[in-house]
């Protein structure tokens, strides 16, 4: 497994602003992902963070709204831009190592947009 930390753990933001969420892993990983968990819902994949290239976004998610960076094999950021109350969710990063198919999740960032 891997030890994954996320910052911030929670935040309350005003609509129209942006928030950047950080994900740090204690070892190098091949794959990093960002998921969203809306209140009372299950997890939905936003995008795969690719090291050294643009992220791969799932249908319904766009780079302008959710820009992602991955400068190295242990760190990634997700920005939630121009927020609205509908963006209130838990945002989770997960990681996977090459040769193993399990994904391990960080503790999540609980975002509330007012």
């Amino acid at each position: 497994s891997a030890v994954i930390s996320q910052k911030p753990s929670r935040d309350i933001c005003q609509r129209g602003t942006s928030l950047t969420i950080q994900c740090q892993v204690d070892s190098q990983v091949t794959m990093m992902f960002w998921y969203r968990q809306q209140p009372g819902q299950s997890l939905t994949l936003i995008a795969t963070a690719n090291q050294g290239s643009e992220a791969t976004y799932e249908s319904g998610f766009v780079i302008d709204k959710f820009p992602i960076s991955r400068p190295n094999l242990t760190f990634s950021t997700l920005t939630v831009s121009n927020m609205s109350p509908e963006d209130s969710s838990i945002y989770l990063c997960s990681v996977g190592k090459q040769g193993a198919y399990e994904q391990y999740f960080g503790p999540g960032t609980r975002l509330t947009v007012t």
Binding site: F33, S42, L45, E58, G96, E102, Q103
Partner: protein, 111 residues
């Protein structure tokens, strides 16, 4: 379209009362089925991966099984600390690693 359905949505058990959670899936090609446990306010905790029909895995009071259409998570003699939401996810492509999650089953075990 790839789809994962979990049932029941919620389950209440008395301590010691065994039961099973169901995860049925319709996917183009299963590469792996994953079970996670999620406690309130926390990220999902990995429990099991199953790869092929007939496979079984156990961990303490939990046992996961897999058929060609569904997976079961059997809970034997549960304790209050087993109370959590249990999530099932499928992976249809190992190259992308994408997981498709079910809605989860929220389990409450009363002492």
């Amino acid at each position: 379209e790839d789809q994962v359905t979990q049932s029941p949505e919620a389950l209440r058990l008395q301590e010691g009362e065994s039961s099973s959670l169901n995860c049925s899936y319709t996917v183009s090609g299963l590469r792996g089925l994953f079970w996670y446990r999620q406690d309130p306010g926390k990220g999902p905790e990995f429990l099991f991966t199953l790869y092929s029909a007939g496979e079984e895995k156990e961990k303490e009071r939990l046992k996961a099984t897999l058929t060609k259409k569904e997976s079961f998570l059997h809970i034997t003699a549960p304790k209050p600390e087993d109370s959590a939401t249990y999530l099932c996810a499928v992976q249809v492509s190992r190259s992308t690693g994408k997981l498709i999650f079910g809605q989860g089953t929220t389990l409450q075990v009363k002492p």
